[in-house]
Amino acid sequence: MKLTRRDLLAWSAGAAAGLIVTPIPWKILDDTSIWSQNWPWIPQPARVPVEIRQSHCTLCPKGCGLRVRMAAGWAVGVAGMKTHPTSHGALCPLGFGAHQLNWHPQRLREVRHRGNASSWNEAHAAFARASSEGPVVIIDGYPGRAASSVYESFAEKNHGEYRVFRGTELRSLNPYESWTGVPVTSLGYDLENTQTLISFGAPLLDGWGTPGYVTRLWSEKSGGVDDPQLRIIQIEPSLSRTAARARQWLRIHEGSESALASGLARVLMEQNLVPAHPPIPAITISDAAARTGWSEDAIQELARTLVSRPPALAIAANENPTVAALNVLLGSVGARGGIVRKEKISHAYVSASAAISTARAVLIDSSVPWDFAPQTDAEIFRFAAWNGGPTKADWLLPAPGFLEELTDVPTAPALPVETYAVAPALVKTTFELQSAAQFLVGIDSSLTPPEKTIHDRCADLFKNRSGTLHAPESIAIAKIESVQQLKEQLWKGAVWVGEASPPGGLKCELKEWPPEPIPATAAGWADSWQAPVLPPLASKLYIESNLRDAPERRNA
């Protein structure tokens, strides 16, 4: 029997008819659609329970309180700690993506020496040799930590130097340090009591200081309030975020902030709006008007506004002695709502400048901004968690990233009160990391390791019996029963807050009206951000939307 074409056709028709009543077409239709809902190249989150841990952000010295969602030993989400006494549940926008930073493609995962892979042993040997051959300069971007004390002792023992890189908030306090002798780390702005706040370009509502501290005050006392108890007057050449939301935005010519401050001082003195009579600035009101692009009337009106609702406080974007002198004139130094001294006086740190004359080696802590490039012939040991691009450093040493090491969190810059908190190592690490402090302790085992220092500091806090623990309910430190209990609380995210010091105790007189500084501006968090890279999600702000301009330095 020969099969014909006709048989084949009939067979095919039968097979097709039969196929319809089998699961084949229907199951394939169903399964392929299910496959498209779960196709395998898309990562799906692990099915693990989520646990909430409280801690502190250590990416920059502002120490905002964190509420971290943890799953399987990894951070899977970050939010602000609502009960935090200074950051009040706020974070900078980048903080919300910080848990992804540890996997940033630019993460430093191995020791690198002049562009080549190296090892910790070689780095140790190189640093030990260098420190035996000559002085070592250690630069810290986050003073006051237990790690900082390691650097200080190392520098002291090895005839080296310990220097601190100051952020813009600290730099704005520099003039008072030189006039009063109180170190900037012991000075703060008492914004809680300020009524009139005149900002010379400081991005007050855009990440300045501890973001939550300022924004909470502003939103409670000013934002959308008819009769604000805190009036922000923003002096700035362009309509910044702060200018947009300030009570008043006063446009000014680029770089004429100091001229305006001097002009205001002149009006205050000439019209006897303030009692003090320090040296009179050389600039006349008409000069100031010409420089700023304002009318003389406008300057006079602003001067009257400044004294109409005391206390008034002027804040500069950067180091600006004329703005500081204006505060002296307004009587805001050492007064409520002005510049205050914290209870505990720390000692002054040498400010780090780029020029380093004589050193055999420079060690830069991971808290120093990536862009800080010392001009020196010395061998540079650069600790960093992320590689921020081309660098002059000889050694790149992978430091712990976000929440990867135990560290303490001392008072944030420019806060009016002392605080102390601890950020334990919350997340797992997958490769070999060393912080600069561990590195130094590894070289000189007689140094006190940071863990020991943190324990000692807790013991001191317990002994002193002063201040309050916020954990999250407030507990007076006197009610804490043991160092162990205190430590437990701190490890769970509690914050110790010192007693507010009484106003006064800060005397400041001007011998001469300060000269105008070279203009320097500050951007918002982009400038105070200490990490060399941004979390990938930051692209939502400057690429996937038009909300912000892209920062100049960006590593995709």
Binding site: P43, R69, A72, L91, S539
Partner: protein, 249 residues
């Protein structure tokens, strides 16, 4: 007891910092792809910068967070979806987008007057290892589907589960707050149950200060705004984009 979740956003308190946008993306496992642009990126919550159109020192700016308004009546996206991938949840009033049902026809995107819906033009991807940082409560969407604000429904799930375990039928309102409201450093974004007359947010939504964008379309959005600044309110309530100077850059 059926809830009607909604928000009131105080524009006078919004500094345009963008914390809400990142918190939202992080909570909902929204990827940041290097290929994405302002027109193709995924921003279920988008803060837009607007100005009064003036120049020089008379220029003023404000920030308007835009997200799904969870329209209550004649919801434009719900009625156009050919395969029931969008629905108004009866119990919560949340307009729920189901990426697993969605076939990616994008009809709902053309229907939405707020442009609050986003298409996954690419498959999501994260740098190596970063998938460990994904939020366990939220399934990652594949390419070719539409997504939008689901009011952080994973948090609602967690709250419901917690209530069930404790033997309660109703969730504790303290357990359910979307990531944007939680993240807002100035408390500008406030979340609450509009069906509860005692809820402070519900009261605020009913106050004369509150207004909605494109309210005249009649879709009853549950996203309210408020502002004391006359120009902001005038701009937000005008239905016409007459002012070609308007900048959201």
């Amino acid at each position: 007891m059926s809830a009607r979740y909604g928000m009131v956003i105080d524009l006078d308190r919004c500094t345009g910092c963008g914390s809400c946008m990142i918190a939202c993306a992080s909570e909902n496992n929204v990827p940041s792809l290097p290929q994405a642009t302002a027109r193709t990126g995924l921003t279920p919550l988008l803060v837009r910068k607007v100005s009064n159109g003036e120049d020089g020192e008379r220029r003023r700016a404000a920030f308007i967070p835009i997200m799904c308004a969870h329209c209550e009546h004649d919801t434009p996206c719900v009625k156009v979806c050919p395969q029931q991938a969008v629905e108004v949840d009866k119990a919560t009033g949340i307009v729920m987008q189901m990426p697993q049902r969605c076939l990616g026809c994008r009809y709902c995107m053309t229907a939405c007057p707020y442009h609050a819906r986003y298409f996954n033009w690419w498959d999501p991807a994260w740098p190596k290892g970063m998938e460990k940082s994904l939020n366990p409560g939220v399934a990652v969407r594949m390419r070719g589907v539409v997504e939008k604000c689901n009011l952080c429904h994973a948090r609602l799930h967690a709250a419901e589960e917690k209530a069930a375990a404790a033997g309660k039928r109703e969730i504790d309102p303290a357990d359910y707050e979307p990531a944007c409201a939680e993240a807002c450093p100035t408390g500008a974004i406030r979340f609450g149950n509009l069906a509860d007359p005692d809820d402070p947010v519900s009261k605020e939504a009913r106050s004369p200060e509150a207004f909605r964008l494109l309210a005249e379309l009649g879709t009853e959005p549950k996203l309210y705004y408020k502002s004391k600044e006359a120009w902001v309110r005038a701009l937000a309530e005008s239905n016409s984009a007459r002012n070609s100077e308007v900048q959201h850059g």
